[in-house]
């Protein structure tokens, strides 16, 4: 288990400003919060180094031509589930892969361009991965809430 990172009030104020405008300069942030630009810069770096902050451009599904989303629950047999998860994570269409407790071993989110993508991915790609016993897909027909700005951050 990694050691917990401690955020103080200054860290939180910086993050709040960055959530609204990720491209605000250190100087602009410093002026708003009554800090120096150097402090802002080092605080951001500290949070990024601890994998607790990423300031990024989020792009729309449309920018990548994706038009629908699907959840796929996977049962693994005869192979370590972590290995299967790693292979699945390599596909660009796969947005999230988690090892989970319960009936299935792996839960993933997949974005697709069109219906042809579906058979191609499920039948030609995923089903060729050794160790997958079954795939149970659920097509996302509506998204009521999708808050992604708090998330596990990869190193």
């Amino acid at each position: 288990m990694t050691q917990k990172f401690n955020f103080d009030a200054t860290d939180r104020s910086i993050v709040e400003l960055l959530r609204h405008n990720g491209r605000a300069t250190n100087q602009q942030i410093a002026e708003k919060l009554g800090l120096t630009a150097t402090t802002v810069s080092s605080r951001i770096k500290r949070m990024e180094d601890a994998n607790q902050l990423r300031v990024v451009a989020v792009s729309d599904f449309a920018a990548h031509g994706f038009s629908f989303l699907m959840e796929v629950a996977i049962e693994v047999d005869g192979r370590p589930a972590s290995e299967v998860a790693q292979e699945l994570a390599a596909f660009p269409e796969v947005f999230a892969v988690h090892l989970v407790t319960g009936r299935y071993e792996i839960d993933m989110l997949v974005a697709l361009r069109d219906f042809d993508d579906l058979s191609h991915l499920l039948l030609d790609k995923f089903s060729q991965i050794h160790g997958i016993r079954s795939m149970t897909p659920a097509i996302v027909v509506d998204i009521i809430k999708y808050q992604f700005d708090i998330a596990p951050i990869e190193a």
Binding site: V56, A63, K145
Partner: protein
């Protein structure tokens, strides 16, 4: 859905800013071999067309909620949107999708203590009228979590898939 025309430069910008949005226009321009003005103009256009938005993504530890769980829910088919909305208003729930499959709602829950998860899943959600069954899977390891692609809406907030 409208087809969006992006050229290689747009794609390179999306790729680079998707890794780190705090790089200066000057540095991007130098790397891509274009002028700073071109970079500025392209970014502005991509933002205006709601193809990109700049934001901060924080790790789970910042919120003191370090675990993630998927709640697969079976709810009354004729009222599934309304039930989904009620679930989305509950604390700890950061994602709610209506699905077609074995379950008709998928909710994502961020939590720290198991008590909190049980409270949301087995008490709050299960007691909503029209909810019949909740299956909880706790994520024990994350292999991938791409937060860089989402739905960007008019008010700049980033929400779901449906425009």
């Amino acid at each position: 859905m409208a087809t969006i025309q992006l050229d290689d430069l747009d794609r390179q910008l999306i790729e680079q800013l998707g890794r780190d949005a705090r790089v200066s226009n000057r540095k991007i321009a130098a790397e891509l071999g274009v002028t700073e003005g071109t970079v500025r103009g392209r970014i502005k256009r991509l933002q205006q067309e709601r193809l990109i938005a700049f934001t901060a993504i924080t790790g789970l530890e910042m919120e003191a909620k370090s675990r993630l769980a998927f709640l697969s829910i079976q709810a009354d088919v004729d009222n599934v949107r309304a039930i989904g909305r009620q679930i989305s208003e509950l604390p700890l729930i950061n994602g709610v999708m209506i699905t077609m499959g074995q379950f008709n709602i998928l909710a994502i829950c961020l939590f720290d203590e198991l008590d909190c998860l049980v409270n949301v899943a087995s008490d709050k959600i299960l007691s909503l009228p029209g909810v019949h069954h909740v299956e909880t899977s706790i994520a024990v390891k994350t292999f991938k979590y791409n937060t860089r692609v989402a739905r960007i809406t008019e008010d700049g907030l980033i929400t779901g898939l449906n425009r």
